[in-house]
């Protein structure tokens, strides 16, 4: 019934204990990683801005986040007079819980070499190095990110104050619009992988050429990266908390632990989203393996069962760095630019690319000429793209003539 773990098919005390242990380990690892992510971000950004950054608490300022957390813990917990009490208390959890749940579907390690399935032996039971492998797999990510919208939306609304409300309306509009592009680029991956389960998706990407970033032709990856950044409300899409316009965005009225939960959720989401990118496009815990001419590399670091985990961490670190890099270098988009990018560029582009991949699949199934199919489908897509830009231009012109509508 609950086919989330191979273990749970025959329930026993040991199986339950192992699953419980995995839950605790994944939870703790998630928290600790988030803590270091905050430190990492501050340190890298200060490096890029010629500052030193946190350096007082602990070696290299490593314990700075802990100190901040303790400070937040002892602050007064304010409840604004005009707040909606129940929703105000509920909202931080709606933001925080999805962040953690996404973490549970990411394969964190395991041996995928030589066609092995990533199964590890734990006290005589075989299991995956991932908390859950639900049949809906990646769809869980979409479902949870749609729940995370509520956290932000309700936080802004329930504060009973105008800046948070503005921030949250912006945020939810942004997250709902970019979710479509996110979903469509995931669909491209699913089309190539042929399965929904994250474990299966990792299993398919056995060598560099089969990594979905290459197998789906880079475009879905770029769209996913942009849409994910918008979904995370991170710079350059951080209109939610544009300090210059909105004080602090949806979380202005929050203090103490409730604020800490939002903060934690935000950084946790960054880490999990990097994990999702690695899982979907870069083979997750699969080692980098390629044979180009005479160069063979099988990615075995001679670390035994830790091999997959080390590869996974290395890949995730790259994307964490990329996110910090975005924040340090890119200016924030204006609101209409954000919406234009989401609706008029990313969604049509991801849909078009998805159609292209689907056409390739059909051609492969029916043994049609691959090149002819590619040529025809690209021509059709270009035609559609031309029509779309023409339509957008006409509507822009009309709007200019009629005057602003709102």
């Amino acid at each position: 019934m609950f086919a989330v773990d191979t273990l749970l098919e025959k329930l026993g005390l040991a199986a339950v204990l192992i699953v419980l242990m995995k839950v605790v380990v994944v939870f703790v690892v998630g928290l600790v990683v988030t803590m270091f992510m905050v430190w990492f971000e501050r340190k890298v950004i200060s490096g890029m801005q010629n500052r030193i950054g946190p350096n007082k608490a602990g070696p290299f300022g490593l314990l700075q986040t802990l100190a901040d957390g303790i400070k937040l813990f002892f602050k007064e917990d304010l409840l604004p007079d005009r707040a909606d009490r129940f929703v105000f208390r509920l909202a931080p959890f709606l933001a925080f819980v999805p962040a953690f749940l996404v973490w549970s579907i990411i394969p964190l390690g395991g041996d995928f070499t030589n066609g092995k399935d990533g199964v590890v032996k734990l006290f005589g039971h075989s299991t995956f190095v991932q908390l859950a492998d639900p049949p809906i797999g990646v769809l869980l990510l979409l479902a949870l990110s749609s729940i995370a919208v509520y956290g932000i939306m309700l936080a802004g609304w329930s504060s009973g104050s105008k800046y948070p409300l503005l921030g949250s309306v912006r945020a939810s509009a942004q997250m709902v619009s970019y979710e479509a592009a996110l979903g469509l680029s995931i669909a491209a991956v699913l089309l190539v992988a042929g399965t929904l389960s994250t474990h299966g998706i990792v299993g398919v990407q056995s060598s560099l050429g089969k990594w979905h970033v290459i197998a789906t032709g880079v475009v879905p990856f770029i769209i996913f990266l942009m849409a994910a950044t918008a979904e995370l409300n991170r710079p350059p899409f951080d209109l939610v908390e544009a300090e210059q316009e909105l004080v602090g965005g949806f979380n202005t009225e929050y203090s103490s632990l409730r604020f800490a939960l939002f903060f934690l959720a935000e950084f946790m989401n960054t880490v999990t989203m990097s994990g999702v990118i690695v899982t979907l496009f870069f083979g997750g815990p699969q080692p980098l393996r390629f044979d180009i001419g005479a160069v063979h590399f099988n990615g075995d670091l001679h670390l035994g069962f830790l091999n997959g985990t080390v590869w996974f961490i290395a890949k995730v670190l790259v994307f964490l760095y990329v996110y910090v890099w975005f924040r340090a270098t890119l200016p924030r988009l204006r609101y209409d630019q954000l919406m234009n990018l989401g609706w008029k560029v990313l969604i049509p582009a991801s849909l078009g690319w998805f159609m292209l991949l689907a056409a390739q699949r059909v051609a492969a199934d029916n043994e049609w000429n691959k090149w002819a199919v590619s040529f025809v489908s690209i021509a059709v897509l270009l035609l559609c793209g031309g029509l779309l830009t023409a339509a957008i231009r006409v509507s822009a012109k009309n709007r200019e003539r009629e005057g602003a509508m709102f």
């Binding site: 019934m1 909606d84 809906i136 749609s146 309700l154 309306v169 509009a173 005057g403 509508m405």
Partner: protein, 191 residues
Amino acid sequence: MQLFVFICAAVMILIGAVGVIVRSHPVHAALSLILTLFGVAVLFVAQDAHFLAAVQVIVYAGAIVVLFLFVIMLLGVDKAESLRIDPVKVQRPLAAIVGIGLAGLLAAAIVQGRDTLARRGTGIDTADGGVHDSNIRQLANDLFSNHVFAFEITSVLLVIAVVGTVLLARRPRHSGASHTEAGTDTKASVK
């Protein structure tokens, strides 16, 4: 186990459904609706219809109720309404009659169909079949092969609805002097 899950989900659904009606605050009512939708998703999972559960959460909880909340927040009706005032006088007695009638119909249908309800549906056992993706495969087969025409017609219907909404939301271009005034006003404020 199945019974336990069913009872939990049913309690969730009922609490949510009652909340939608009883809570006087629109936002709380919308939140109760989400609780109901989640309960239904849990029931889907319990029946091995994982994909339906995911779609339920993504589409209904993730998009439609968000839209509800948007409208509630943007229109500024997010204040608790007094239940004392009744704008249309007949509405409440009429609602009571319709409610009782519906309850009676449901009860009659359940009593009539006792035997059918007790039997387990034929498709349920094969819904998952132990394979991870069989759910989505079966659904896709049904939607895109057997009922592809109905599916396409539905999407055309949706497009028509969108076009209609845009048409309704647009102001007619030559609706008199008041329009041009408003137009220049907004133009000025935009600039």
